[in-house]
Amino acid sequence: MSTDIGLRVAVAVVEIAAVLGVVLLHVAYLTYLERKILGDMQDRMGPMEVGWHGWLQPIADGLKLFFKEDIVPSGANKIIFTLAPILVLVPALIGFAVVPFGAKTIQIGPLEFHPYITDINIGILYVLAVASLGAYGVLLGGWASNSKYSLLGGLRSAAQVISYELPLGLALVGPILLTQSLSMVKMGEAQAGGFWHWFSFSLPFPQIVALVVYLIAAVAETNRVPFDLPEAESELVAGFFTEYSGMRFAFFFLAEYANMIMVSCIATIAFLGAWQAPFPHLGFVPPIVWFVLKVYCFLFFYIWLRATLPRLRFDQLMKFGWKVLLPVALGNILITSILLYLSRL
């Protein structure tokens, strides 16, 4: 009995380590990918110096941040100043515990390796709840820095994150209604078949509007352009993480990109059919390949938006979130539920 529990714990630890390792590697190389793609879109080369075509750049950046001097501003609240980056990074990472990356469970002897760390039956609710904790870290970081730029940046960022969490959650209610479950594994399994079964294209009501609302809210949640006023380099120095340097800054940075990947994973699962192939006869390709491909589509879209759009002013941002996105998300829920009820009569 105890060996059984011991084995299960060991399997869980291995899975957690694997997922965290892969996610952190992706986060690091997402920065490199972003710089290269931004460069290509701006008719220039991205990093080219470190390693062949610059692919060792994230490692150089990481080493640099690791060795930088750790400055705590005088007058700053030391405990909270240290706590804030942790409060931002940890919620971003623990959301990955419920994301299913593939379809098959690998069986090695008595050990079972699932494509997810755990399959709780409130998967999406857990992710949304944990993502909301990130707002604490931002607020505390801004306030604990004892600097007016940081404080303003932190307040703005917290207001933005809170305002856009509503359309984010409500946009996901459409796919939840279509799945009849909050579990992400069931959501992925419900979109089997071809791409016409994916929730963004499926009857009774294609969730394209919800997808657009979700994407916009997700860009605002992660403080990316065009909603990146809180960290606007030209206006607020660096917003709420002005006073941070070295590893603390690295944590904020990692948290932003980890949030991006998290939100892209949720979008893939809820709208684009998770690990399902677009055509049934392409099912021989391993499901995790489809999943990664779709996540990278969203990540490319994020970077594409950054290269294209100017920044929204803060009042324009708030107006858009409350007056446009929220009613549209609510309208989507209304129409989806009516059509779903009528189709099941």
Partner: protein
């Protein structure tokens, strides 16, 4: 709703202008980069490019500079210092005993090159003079002559006119003609 308002409404709801912008950036992904990587690839300099000022020689190896200090007068940054003296071997002919050009003050305008009556100065195409030791940037005549030998290998012939006058002056020296060195009266 008239057609203009309708068009504006459609453009806003369907993000038409944003999509056009996205199309532009996507197209630009496939445009070749217009930047080049400097230390590995160097730029093609135009013909009139004004780099570091150098001293030139004649084809017999003698330096052209006569120490007239017109370049010092023309320089807008006052970075040239000329001390001229009479040549020992050819009296009544002068040279620059000391010629210092302070590159930290030089703006590379080329006025000195234009001012020189014997074309002793020229603008080379050298621009990579960054150094750890600022004193290396106070160029003296030997340094400038060396740079001139490197960048201007084709030397002009010494004008024959001077050769005739040279003979005159040598003859004068033999006849003990009074020179500035020896003093007049």
């Amino acid at each position: 709703m008239d057609s203009r308002n309708l068009k504006k409404w459609i453009n806003t709801v369907f993000f038409v202008e944003i999509l056009k912008g996205l199309g532009l950036t996507f197209r630009h992904m496939f445009v070749k980069p217009i930047t080049f990587q400097y230390p590995h690839v160097k730029r093609q300099l135009p013909d009139g490019y004004r780099g570091v000022i150098v001293h030139l020689r004649y084809d017999d190896g003698t330096e052209k500079c006569v120490g007239c200090a017109l370049c010092e007068a023309a320089c807008p940054s006052h970075c040239i210092t000329v001390v001229s003296a009479e040549r020992e071997d050819m009296p009544q002919k002068r040279y620059a005993k000391q010629y210092i050009l302070d590159m930290t003050k030089c703006v590379f305008c080329g006025f000195c090159v234009q001012a020189c009556p014997v074309d002793a100065l020229a603008s080379s195409k050298e621009y990579e003079m960054a150094t750890w030791n600022k004193r290396e940037l106070m160029m003296d005549k030997e340094f400038m002559l060396k740079l001139g030998d490197k960048y201007f290998p084709n030397r002009r012939a010494r004008p024959k006119l001077y050769q005739d006058q040279l003979n005159f002056f040598t003859k004068m020296k033999q006849k003990n003609f009074p020179t500035a060195k020896g003093g007049v009266a």
